[in-house]
Assembly symmetry: C2
Homo-oligomer: 212 residues x 2
Amino acid sequence: MDAGTPKFRRRKADRPEEIVSAALAVFAEKGFAAAKLDDIARRAGVSKGAVYLYFETKEDVFRAVVERAILPNLSVVKAMAAAHPGPLADLLRGLAGHIAGVVETTPIGGVLKMVVGEARNFPELARVWHDELIVHALGAMAEAIRNAQARGEVKLGDPRTFALQLISPLLVGVLWRETFVPVGAQPFDLPALMRQHIDTLLGGMLTEGARA
Amino acid sequence: MDAGTPKFRRRKADRPEEIVSAALAVFAEKGFAAAKLDDIARRAGVSKGAVYLYFETKEDVFRAVVERAILPNLSVVKAMAAAHPGPLADLLRGLAGHIAGVVETTPIGGVLKMVVGEARNFPELARVWHDELIVHALGAMAEAIRNAQARGEVKLGDPRTFALQLISPLLVGVLWRETFVPVGAQPFDLPALMRQHIDTLLGGMLTEGARA
DNA sequence: AACTAATAACTGACCAGTCAGTTAGTAACA
DNA sequence: TGTTACTAACTGACTGGTCAGTTATTAGTT
């Protein structure tokens, strides 16, 4: 062949990472079943056969994608777990800003959509996400809320439910962006949404005058 | 053949309904691509060929399922559109109870999961849901909130964002039930969740003492 | 009532296309 | 030159969609 441009490079160390990145893009766009291994391979700059040098099956690739999407977020969980002692309001505002930023700059939204969409076909995947990420995140938030309740900062009520109330608009905002914005829906500004949400949830939605 | 047990019955009028019901169950469980037409047909008590007497393609069946899931909810939208003039708190409490009930007694949760999961592969489906259901529901809520703001009941802030804040926990609760409860997650009591959420969002999460 | 003809709802075997996974062989690098 | 990362052609299983034939049902005739 042409000696000037080799047909391929041997780069064993980098391939898995590249394949997982390509797979993330394709899976997030198409979902598991509709994603073709040929597309993933082409996007990663290798042949389909090469994918099978590094992964056993398509499921195996999918698993790698979903699990990798957890890692960058463990730091967030850890930060939350660092049991911020100050006023809950400060913690929540900082946290919401941080998470909204992560959500806007990483493809975690696409992964979330995948986990929701493929949960029945890959229960163990939903289990990994639940056990390794969600339980910890929700638990840390609930713990912080419980502490705030003990300090008399926060009213009575189920802390886990409070935690869900706090993050729900962000999750819905992400799914909204992934699902409806591509078909013409008016997008939400996620950081602004979370700012208003935290303020409202903390301070109350009704004015003083109308409050029961 | 055996004259006692006929091989099939001719029931043209009932078939489409039965096929759509069967398809709803299979699609909600497997997602679009993983759902086999043979399964849908068997579940509906007919052969695969019979499905094609009533629907053009698999996509066509899917469309019918998703569109039918909109109808029962138009009444809810209408009820909201009946621009409740009284205090916003009453409207929201009644509405939340109603919607939580609908969500608990109908398979709309499964359909929502499908719409989210297959949005990329079926954009026109996401469009239908957005244009015919979500825009109206969100718009009606935003309108009620805007009116309440005009009456001085509610603080300043984007009404559409307020509406999203209000319904988000319900949506997340549904997706939670569909995605994580089957793999062992602790479920949420949706009506209770919404009661606490409405109360909190309306009245404020912080105690009087801690309020900024 | 009983028999027959006509209709259309329905079946199930089949086909054509697709795609996950395999492997024989080639090219890159030591 | 030997080793192996990699390619590209291949296979086999699976499934959406088709259609020739079958059977339930109704209408017509005696």
